[in-house]
Chain length 166, copies 2
DNA sequence: AATTTACGTCAGCCTTGTTGACTTTCCAAG
DNA sequence: CTTGGAAAGTCAACAAGGCTGACGTAAATT
């Protein structure tokens, strides 16, 4: 495909029209991105907020409530409502910290892990199809732009949440 | 089922881990994407729903309510609430259709256009910075992947809303 | 001992989405 | 001309999921 040369002249990809296309691409794609899990969730009593909590607990088992708060960027009251139902329904387990007993370390139960798999399977299937159709080079660009679009704090969360903290 | 075996060349960009990164990139980037307009909107009595309406009316002046409904993917009751306040506040004008007087053709007033500019300036600034940092090739990939991630209907809206319909 | 931190909870509010039922307007087909 | 149905608007009721503020408790820190 005819890529623009990296020389200084073609800054055409920065025109307002191109930017508007980018903005709308984000809007429409995000809808597609959430559509599949949403369909699954709406058959249960859960919503997108539950999905997010489950996703990040799965990603970082043993993470604390305040860690999750920082990642999700919501208030503790809002998160607590979600977390409470997940714990009541036996999808999430909150273990009191060994070293610091004020902390609650969050884990998915087998049942929670099962729902997580169901949700992320659906979401990954779409992402995989999109990735495959677009090819590795496009995927690389996709990730580069998205990362550049994040707030610095969010970028840090994105890059390095390998360990759940001390 | 198992992973598709790497057919010679690396399909490593389709691993579950890579897909998970893509999923989280979408999540965090979308937050950044909406952050700037949200900050502006919260000082007024408006929310993200108002922004979306204003954006698409600006994009397709004279669009009808049902057009907007299809683009935004919400119920007319939900859209109507937003639209009503925008009309009351003098940001949007609803002109009765000439050919079909049931239709309302939506236009931004000067005041509405001013808010649109303020909002999209903020959003474009971030998008521009991200595009510039990533480069044209990455931007191309970004758009390719996002497009592949949309639902077919959304993709159609994305590609061809040049004209406001018959 | 006093303060700070982590978490939970109650109460109340807002935005933005949903359904369902109903009316008005008006184009177009019979 | 009548009528069916599409387009638009409205009212009512409700839910999810954000928010703030206030308060309580246990545990760690100073």
């Amino acid at each position: 495909m005819a890529e623009t040369p990296p020389s200084g002249e073609s800054l055409l990809f920065l025109t307002d029209e191109q930017l508007r296309k980018g903005i709308e691409a984000m809007f429409f794609a995000y809808r597609g991105f959430t559509a599949d899990p949403d369909r699954i969730l709406e058959t249960m009593d859960y919503g997108r907020a539950h999905h997010r909590a489950i996703h990040f607990i799965h990603r970082s088992p043993g993470t604390t409530v305040s860690n999750l708060l920082a990642i999700l960027g919501v208030t503790k009251q809002s998160l607590n409502r979600v977390l409470r139902t997940l714990i009541e329904d036996g999808l999430v387990e909150a273990r009191v910290g060994r070293r610091d007993k004020r902390e609650r370390h969050l884990h998915l139960t087998p049942k929670g892990a099962e729902l997580e798999r169901e949700l992320s399977d659906a979401q990954r299937a779409r992402m995989r199809a999109a990735f495959r159709a677009a090819g590795p080079q496009a995927v690389s660009g996709f990730r580069t732009v998205l990362e550049a679009m994040m707030d610095p704090e969010q970028r840090k969360q994105y890059q390095g949440l390998k360990e759940a903290g001390p």
